[in-house]
């Protein structure tokens, strides 16, 4: 039945998103080793990129953009890129103006 | 309002010919002339309001909450002519906001929703001009009247003006929500649903500006980049949009009580 196939796909999507979320725990753990608090552009950039990937997955799978007209696919992809680029830009401009 | 009145335009079309004759015909016979009058009054008001606030009185963008009293007194001094002139004009034209509100309430009467929506909107917005506009103007004009006043008092008027202006967004929040709900449950398709959602965006910016009561500096102060600048962008988009939406509504108006017809000639996206 088609709906069972759909439901399995949704569950897999949730598992992937959760795994990406838990990956943050791993990142956090490996960065704060030694107890000192340090800023890190590498961590920030990868976190922003991972978050953008998660948002895209939510758009395409949960919000069913995969089955939507091409315009909506392009628009949501453009938005994900816009979010990632804007956030990275704001961060690095801030770093430059420190 | 249950009979459909065929607009006389279809029976007696405006005469072709010289412009002044056509204008005269419209002024005397166009059934929508009151609506158009209201719309043009609204446009005139905003075309006066923004220059008065931004250019003549120069009170927007707002100054900083963190300035010391001497700087605040100097700020008043710089505007000792601009503020009385600018606000004098604002006081004279403030009544035009009644037309704005009436037109918006009219749009809700045209919808299939209860008249209570229109009436509540009118009530709220009639009162909202006081904190949302007049208190700032009054406080600042009082400040410019006697430049030799005690700086502490000037400082008080300064804070009172800007906090009353930026901090009392609750009335506008509720008003926006009333219009939003009316649009979303309306069956007469007076406005597209996305415009209802835009009202929600506007309402949320009122929430965002509320912390200006707490912060004297930073992005959430009354002149902050989020509380003022970003909110002004959203507010600007909203203002332009609702003026255009009301324009479209008047064009589509058929004075009936059923669904508002789309404009002829491929207005397919006026859902």
């Amino acid at each position: 039945m088609i709906d069972i196939k759909f439901n399995k796909r949704l569950l897999v999507v949730w598992l992937v998103l959760s795994a990406l979320t838990l990956a943050y725990l791993w990142i956090d753990h490996s960065v704060d080793g030694g107890g000192s608090l340090r800023g890190s552009a590498v961590v920030t950039s990868s976190v922003i990129v991972i978050a953008s990937i998660k948002v895209r997955i939510i758009f395409r799978e949960f919000m069913e953009v995969r089955q939507a007209p091409v315009l909506l696919c392009r628009l949501t992809d453009a938005w994900v890129v816009l979010i990632a680029v804007s956030l990275l830009a704001c961060y690095f401009v801030g770093v430059a103006l420190r | 309002m249950s009979t459909v009145m065929t607009p006389p335009e279809s029976a007696a079309a405006p005469p072709s010919g010289p412009v002044h004759r056509r204008i005269a015909w419209h002024l005397r016979h166009n059934p929508k002339r009151e609506l158009w009058l209201a719309w043009w009054v609204m446009v005139a008001f905003y075309n006066l309001f923004f220059p008065m606030f931004f250019v003549v009185a120069q009170v927007q963008p707002p100054p900083q909450p963190t300035w010391d009293l001497a700087t605040q007194v100097h700020w008043f001094d710089e505007r000792h002519l601009g503020m009385p002139i600018g606000f004098g004009i604002i006081f004279a034209i403030a009544g035009m906001t009644a037309m704005n509100n009436a037109l918006i309430a009219y749009s809700m009467r045209r919808m299939s929703v209860s008249p209570a929506f229109g009436y509540s909107y009118l009530l709220i917005y009639s009162l909202s001009a006081i904190p949302g506009l007049l208190l700032l103007c009054i406080a600042l004009v009082v400040g410019t009247l006697r430049p030799e006043r005690n700086p502490e008092t000037i400082g008080w008027l300064y804070d009172f003006a800007f906090l009353s202006f930026d901090g009392t967004m609750g009335v506008f929040l509720i008003g926006s929500l009333i219009w939003m709900v009316a649009i979303l449950i309306d069956k007469n398709r007076v406005f597209p649903k996305w415009f209802g959602y835009l009202n929600l965006c506007n309402a949320l910016t009122e929430v965002v500006v509320a912390p200006c009561w707490i912060f004297q500096r930073g992005v959430l102060a009354w002149n902050g980049q989020i509380a003022w600048w970003l909110d002004m962008v959203v507010f600007g988009v909203y203002q332009v949009t609702f003026i255009v939406m009301l324009f479209q509504m008047i064009r589509r108006e058929d004075f009936g009580s059923g669904p508002l017809p789309d404009l002829p000639r491929k207005r397919a996206n006026a859902s």
Partner: protein, 192 residues
């Protein structure tokens, strides 16, 4: 915008009202602006923000995210069930979504209370201003989400009222609340 009437013919359709999509994209831009300001000021004073961030518990943030992602899963499942006519299953998923949303809300309020008890208030430091502001405005969106879920459940409960488009529209809004949180969580709790 047509509903999927024939399952064999996979026509492309916009999930829910296109109007809601316009709102989603617009709100996302506004939130991106908020995030931009946060990251800019954070990059300019890293020690202050790092110090504030250290007082947050990442595990709570992760749990919040997992719960909200699960609620997105359940509302997506609800939409698919409704589409094939399995309304009882869809209704169950709708209630599950609301329950998970409620769990998130309770967790968030408890977290705020804990931070305030620790002495970190709205005005304590720039970091906590952003923390309470971003989680607060997200919370407002979540509360609106409950109204939206109410509409969804109301639609599903009566055969006369059901509108697949409206169900999908409500789900679209809920997913937005979810992905906004995904971004907020990454920026407040994990970013260095």
């Amino acid at each position: 915008m047509t509903e999927l009437t024939d399952k064999n013919k996979r026509t492309r359709f916009v999930p829910g009202q296109p109007d809601m999509w316009a709102f989603v994209l617009f709100e996302t831009l506004v939130f991106t602006a908020y995030f931009g300001f946060y990251l800019f000021y954070r990059a300019k004073s890293p020690e202050l923000f790092l110090h504030g961030q250290a007082q947050l518990d990442l595990r709570i943030g992760v749990l919040n995210t997992l719960v909200l992602l699960l609620s997105s899963w359940s509302v997506a499942r609800c939409v698919q069930s409704a589409r094939v006519g399995a309304y009882r299953a869809a209704l169950r998923d709708g209630y599950l979504t609301a329950f998970l949303g409620l769990a998130f809300m309770v967790s968030k309020v408890l977290e705020w209370a804990r931070q305030i008890r620790m002495g970190n208030g709205f005005g304590s430091s720039d970091f906590f201003t952003y923390y309470f502001f971003l989680t607060g405005i997200h919370f407002v969106h979540l509360v609106i989400g409950f109204v939206v879920l109410g509409v969804l459940v109301y639609q599903l409960r009566s055969a006369a009222r059901r509108s697949q488009e409206l169900v999908e529209t409500c789900a679209t809004y809920w997913h937005t609340v979810d992905f906004l949180w995904v971004l907020i969580f990454a920026l407040l709790y994990v970013v260095r």
